[in-house]
């Protein structure tokens, strides 16, 4: 199990008590790319990796790019840098780790992340 996956399992476990909220159907997702969901005034980018080498994964991360202030993270390119899954912002190309939202180039920038899962046909995130 990759370190990221381990970390994710932990977040998922600690969030076990939290409420899982269904955002959309599985086929609303785009394989190896992102879509954006509206969650009570927040914009959540959902990234779907059907097979990243560690089985099927889905990630939820805030959609607002702190550098431009625009809601564009969901439209970035998925990638892996030094073993860590990242999303590249489409405007200024800085990378955010999907695991914890930390920016690789500007560590002071951090995006909110939510535990996410696919349950049956539903894509869910844990909200507190």
């Amino acid at each position: 199990m990759s370190p990221i996956n381990a970390a994710r399992t932990q977040t998922a476990r600690s969030a076990a008590a939290a409420e899982w909220q269904s955002l959309c159907a599985r086929n609303d997702l785009v394989a190896n790319s992102g879509v954006v969901a509206w969650v009570d005034g927040q914009q959540v980018a959902l990234f779907h990796l059907p097979d990243s080498g560690a089985g099927e994964q889905v990630f939820a991360i805030a959609n607002k790019d702190p550098k431009s202030g625009a809601n564009v993270i969901g439209r970035g390119i998925l990638g892996q840098i030094k073993g860590e899954l990242v999303i590249a912002s489409p405007l200024y190309k800085q990378h955010f780790r999907l695991a914890d939202g930390r920016c690789l180039e500007y560590p002071e920038q951090q995006l909110k992340v939510w535990p996410a899962r696919i349950a049956g046909d539903a894509v869910e995130i844990a909200v507190n």
Binding site: L23, C24, D28, V30, A31, N32, S33, V35, V36, A37, W38, Q43, L46, L49, D51, S52, G53, K64, S68, G69, A70, N71, V72, R75, G76, I77, L78, G79, Q80, I81, K82, L85, V86, A88, P90, L91, K93, H95
Partner: protein, 851 residues
């Protein structure tokens, strides 16, 4: 607080002449900190600041005065050097230590003469007007260009180095070029008889007439052409213009009238410190005579400039003790090299010769009487031997057991002198006197990029002849220190883009996953390799980029087939081929813009950009545009953008061809071609060039006989003029050449490399590119054409493809679970249209007014 600052008394140094050598002197003074001691004034007779005369012929190949300049426009001012350009120094008053100009008198403490030389025009009756052109300055070239308008044939008098350069210039102006030489062979100074023969054969094969042992008696009015040159032997040659390039004379008039000692064959006499007979006056470059000789090359001039600058800076200096006149040139595309005692004039010297009459190649190696060292060489046809031979000659390296191996064709086991065999004292760049030791110092100091090395040492920035050797030494030194030169695309692929392109084609790979599994690392890739591979797959197989397997590879703009702007909205650009649009088309664009409240702006590529669309609006907007007959403009892609055109012969009284028709043909042919970077075209209907084709990747300019093709230009951050590639092409040949050029670029360029940078990175330069595209030297032409035909045949409008597929449109939702638009996008009105609100304006916008 009352301290008195004693002003440092600065002497006045005047440099007369702002050519390459005068400029180098200023640079050296700056570098050596001499400006603390001197107030420096530079006088230049020409309007332009110093420019690269070595590459003057490129002025007709597309380079302008600015790109030939030796420094940035503010270089002098930023270092406190006062440049007086376009001001001629008329006299030197040595008694009062003043120079006299049209603007008055100017006192000096020290004076440097760098007035260069002027072309020698033999006294021939009738040599006037267009029959008395010379080739020395940018103004001269402008005069030649003007004379060439409407001319068919041009003659150069003088078959030396500069004469052949001038012939090349005439050729690039589209004239039939001839060279008339008084001596029985070309380049009599540098070449021996067989070398001259080989060069003549090669130059004639290029369509340049060569007339040897011809002395022009007089020039009279011609019958078929404007002038007739009557030769001594009763023969004649007719021509529309004549350029004299029969040698140079030192420009020593100032020194002469000031009573300085002048050499027997001209030139201001200097000693080993470059001092004239007046100790306050130095002379450097082609105006100076050292030991009776005037040096007509840039490297000795630079050496003199350094000698003088060091003395003025109060540093220890190396005396000037003559110069190596070895040269390596490409004349009319033919390699010519001459080293040391090329004629074997040293008593007792022995020569080895290699003659290949089939390809007109010639090489001669001259060795010392004891047979131990190289003392001279002649090369015609292939300069790849030059660097090694020069190092043998300059460093007295002991010859191998079989010296002939040094000039035998490679592959015969020629013992090439590796970079490691060179001593540290070996000169790599003779223009800037950079030794191998200096390169090693930079590597030790941590330099790992060739560009950094060039900036730090200036090596290969003079004549550029040492570029290949410099790279070789640099990479060798890096390797010796265990630094590997990493050319990997990214951490997932240990390949260059070119290598990946080859793999994709050869193995017939159609997906990123397959390529990654077979040749890469990991399962995901990144934002470097995914778009690069996406582009390669599209160039090779041209499947719709909207296919589910290809979508995640695309850069943001390609994914949604629109250009993302700073606030996350998109701009939309329908294709308007050649900039031609009907009123109905214009009305539809207007209606769409109005309906969706899009900001509209005319682009530089003659189309219309519609800004401010949100993701979910794109399909509706495109449905309306497609219904009206529009196609995607690929403004978002690394692909063909536009073919700009003027109205051409259809409307314009000057037009000679239908430029709009050609622009439509080209745009419709190449639209959709995915490439390493964006590609822009333009077509001009006449030589007035209203479409600015010479600033494009592919530029086409009409002639009375067809089309001239220019390649590898661009605007942007580092503008580059396109270079003339082929002339007077018919439509079919034009398209064939463009097919091959573009596909060769697609195949071999690095990721995100424009054609201009790619062209500059090609070893062998423009001539190599011409050989590949025009002469099919790699035997690739048919393959390149068929690949292009595949792309053309499989073209499909990507937006039409997406509009017809509900699954593909699902991605075009701002939110997958909510129909609302993005509430954070705000606009304000400006000049009658809306634009993104600035952060400072947001509080002015009522919360209710969500767009």
């Amino acid at each position: 607080m009352n301290s008195i600052v004693t002003p440092i008394k600065r002497e006045t140094l005047i440099i007369v002449g702002n050519g390459m050598v005068g400029h180098h002197c200023v640079e050296q003074l700056v570098e050596r900190g001499a400006l603390a001691h001197y107030q420096v004034h530079v006088y230049g007779e020409e309007r332009q600041r110093a420019y690269d005369r070595v590459h003057l012929s490129e002025y007709f190949g597309g380079r302008d005065a600015e790109s030939l300049a030796m420094c940035t426009a503010d270089y002098y001012a930023s270092h406190g050097v006062q440049a007086h350009l376009g001001v001629q120094v008329l006299e030197i008053d040595r008694e009062r230590r003043e120079v006299v100009t049209s603007a008055g008198r100017h006192a000096y403490d020290r004076l440097v003469l760098a007035t260069g030389s002027y072309p020698f025009v033999p006294p021939i009756a009738g040599a006037e007007g267009n029959a008395r052109l010379v080739y020395r300055t940018l103004d001269d070239l402008d005069a030649i260009r003007a004379a060439a308008t409407g001319a068919r044939r041009g003659v150069v008098v003088g078959g030396g180095l500069l004469g052949l350069e001038a012939a090349n210039a005439l050729k690039s102006l589209g004239l039939e070029a001839h060279v008339v030489e008084f001596a029985p062979r070309l380049m009599p100074v540098q070449l021996d008889e067989q070398g001259g023969d080989a060069l003549k054969a090669r130059i004639e094969a290029l369509g340049v007439g060569v007339h040897l042992s011809r002395a022009t008696q007089e020039i009279i009015v011609g019958e078929e052409y404007a002038y007739r040159m009557a030769f001594q032997d009763g023969e004649f040659l007719e021509t529309d213009l004549i350029v004299f390039s029969a040698g140079i004379r030192p420009q020593d008039a100032l020194g002469r009238s000031a009573g300085l000692e002048i050499g027997a064959r001209g030139g201001v006499v200097i000693d080993n410190d470059c001092r004239t007979s007046d100790p306050a006056i130095f002379a450097i470059g082609e105006c100076a005579a050292w030991n009776g000789s005037v040096f007509g090359l840039v490297a000795p001039g630079y050496t003199m400039a350094r000698t003088v600058a060091a003395q003025l800076a109060g540093e220890a200096h190396t005396p000037f003790t003559g110069a190596d006149m070895s040269t390596k040139l490409k004349l009319l595309g033919v390699d010519v090299g001459s080293i040391g005692d090329a004629h074997g004039a040293t008593p007792g010297s022995k020569s080895y010769r290699f003659i290949d009459e089939a390809s007109a190649s010639y090489r001669r190696l001259v060795v010392s009487p004891d047979g131990k060292t190289v003392i001279g060489a002649v090369l015609v046809g292939d300069n790849s031997y030059y660097d090694t031979l020069l190092q043998y000659a300059q460093n007295g390296i002991k010859l191998p057991a079989e010296p002939s191996g040094l000039i035998l064709p490679a592959g015969e086991g020629a013992p090439a002198l590796g970079a490691d065999a060179l001593p540290d004292s070996a000169t790599i760049c003779s223009c800037h006197n950079v030794t191998k030791g200096a390169v090693c110092c930079q590597v030790d100091a941590g330099v790992t990029e060739l560009g950094e090395l060039k900036a730090a040492t200036k090596a290969a920035t003079g004549c550029g002849g040492c570029a290949a050797l410099l790279k070789q030494v640099f990479e060798h030194e890096l390797a010796a220190r265990g630094v590997t030169v990493d050319k990997s695309l990214c951490e997932h692929f240990a390949h260059t883009r070119q290598e990946l392109y080859g793999i994709v084609r050869v193995e017939g790979i159609h997906s990123f996953d397959e390529l990654l599994a077979r040749h890469g690392r990991g399962h995901v890739g990144c934002d470097i390799c995914k778009p690069a591979v996406g582009s390669i797959l599209a160039s090779c197989w041209n499947q719709p980029i909207t296919d589910p397997a290809l979508i995640p590879l695309q850069d943001t703009n390609d994914t949604f087939m629109a250009n993302m702007q700073k606030n996350g909205t998109y701009s939309v650009v329908p294709r308007i081929p050649g900039g031609e649009i009907t009123p109905e088309g214009l009305i539809v664009i207007g209606q769409v813009a109005k309906k969706y409240d899009l900001y509209t702006k005319i682009t530089g590529g003659q189309r219309i950009d519609l800004f401010g669309a949100q993701l979910h609006q794109l399909p509706d907007i495109w449905a309306e545009l497609i219904a009206a007959g529009f196609e995607t403009g690929h403004a978002y892609g690394k692909s063909l953008r536009t073919v700009k055109s003027c109205v051409g012969s259809t409307w314009c009284r000057y037009g000679v061809q239908d430029s709009v028709g050609m622009a439509l043909l080209l745009e419709n042919r190449y639209k959709g071609l995915r490439s390493p970077h964006k590609i822009k075209f333009a077509v001009s209907g006449c030589t007035r060039e209203c479409a600015e084709a010479q600033s494009k990747d592919v530029g086409v300019i009409a002639t009375d006989k067809g089309w001239n093709l220019y390649v590898a230009g661009n605007g942007g951050m580092r503008p580059r003029h396109a270079e003339l590639f082929a002339t007077d092409l018919d439509d079919e040949t034009l398209i064939r050449y463009i097919d091959r050029f573009l596909m060769f670029y697609v195949r071999t360029a690095d990721k995100l490399q424009r054609t201009s940078v790619w062209r500059e990175s090609l070893e062998g330069g423009l001539d190599y590119l011409k050989a590949v595209v025009i002469d099919d030297s790699l035997g690739l032409a048919a393959e390149l054409e068929s690949q292009m035909q595949h792309v053309v045949d499989t073209y499909e409008c990507e937006w039409a493809n997406a509009i017809g597929d509900a699954d593909k449109l699902k991605r075009f939702r701002t939110f997958v679970n909510d129909a609302r638009p993005d509430p954070d996008i705000h606009f304000v009105k400006e000049r009658g249209q809306r634009r993104p609100a600035r952060a400072t304006e947001l509080h002015l916008i009522p919360v209710a007014e969500e767009v």
